[in-house]
């Protein structure tokens, strides 16, 4: 069930899910920052998913970010960081 998310290993700082777009440079920067911070996370490029699977992902995102903009990072299924907010991301994981 559902779409397989890509795992990037690192230091576990919670259950981190990054919803991204393959063409979005702010999404790329967000991933680069998570890599730099060596954080363990999962991500998915929503634009590469089609049909009902994509619809399901959009619903997942909207629970935390009704505008469904990218990137949306969900932490432990409760907090979220919308957009490439470098200060906020560093503060959270450094």
């Amino acid at each position: 069930m559902g779409v397989e998310k890509i795992h990037v290993s690192g230091t576990k700082k919670g259950d981190i899910m990054l919803y991204a777009l393959s063409t979005c440079q702010w999404c790329r920067k967000t991933r680069e920052l998570l890599n730099e911070l060596k954080v363990d996370y999962h991500y998915i490029d929503v634009d590469l998913v089609t049909g009902d699977d994509q619809k399901q992902l959009i619903e997942e995102i909207k629970k935390f970010n009704p505008a469904c903009s990218f990137p949306t990072m969900v932490i432990d299924e409760k907090d979220s960081i919308v957009g490439f907010d470098e200060d906020k991301i560093r503060k959270k994981f450094e």
Partner: protein, 160 residues
């Protein structure tokens, strides 16, 4: 992707921008990646949807996010950059200010304002949603003479 393809669109966008008072982001690798995203979207959806927004695949629904998007001007005014940061203002171009990610302005729920009824001008007034260019004629021009946006980006601003 073939490098020449990115070069061609990059050069075209740069020329168009500079000749119409806009500027591409001076961070060339970043900008080229966005241009590549535009080509990917052109091939995937048939139109150059914003690389930083999820396109629906339905052009009609996505007219507002076809690059340059309807939100470029207000975002340039407010933040000095458009949403994906393909376009920036002069301060950022000259390195006086850094580009930062900005919040999403698009609101899909928002209703469009109906065009005001006319005062008998004899012609409807068309407005380019990308740059605000106005013209009074029976139909919108094929391309906006100011920003080169296509015909479908025009809306009736004042009814005939």
């Amino acid at each position: 992707m073939e490098k020449g393809k990115i070069d061609r669109l990059f050069n075209k966008l740069d020329r168009d921008a500079e000749s119409t008072g806009y500027h591409l982001n001076p961070d060339t690798p970043f900008t080229r990646s966005l241009v590549k995203g535009l080509i990917v979207n052109q091939e995937r959806y048939g139109y150059q949807a914003c690389p930083c927004r999820l396109a629906s695949g339905n052009q009609e629904e996505d007219l507002d996010i076809i690059c340059p998007c309807d939100y470029r001007d207000p975002d340039l005014d407010r933040y000095g950059t458009c949403y994906c940061s393909l376009y920036v203002d002069e301060e950022i171009l000259k390195g006086k200010k850094k580009v930062k990610a900005i919040p999403e302005r698009r609101d899909k729920q928002q209703e469009k304002n109906p065009a005001p009824a006319s005062s008998g001008l004899g012609y409807p007034v068309w407005r380019c949603r990308v740059c605000g260019y106005l013209c009074a004629r029976d139909n919108p021009p094929g391309v906006c003479p100011v920003c080169k946006a296509k015909k479908e980006r025009f809306e009736v601003f004042v009814e005939k």
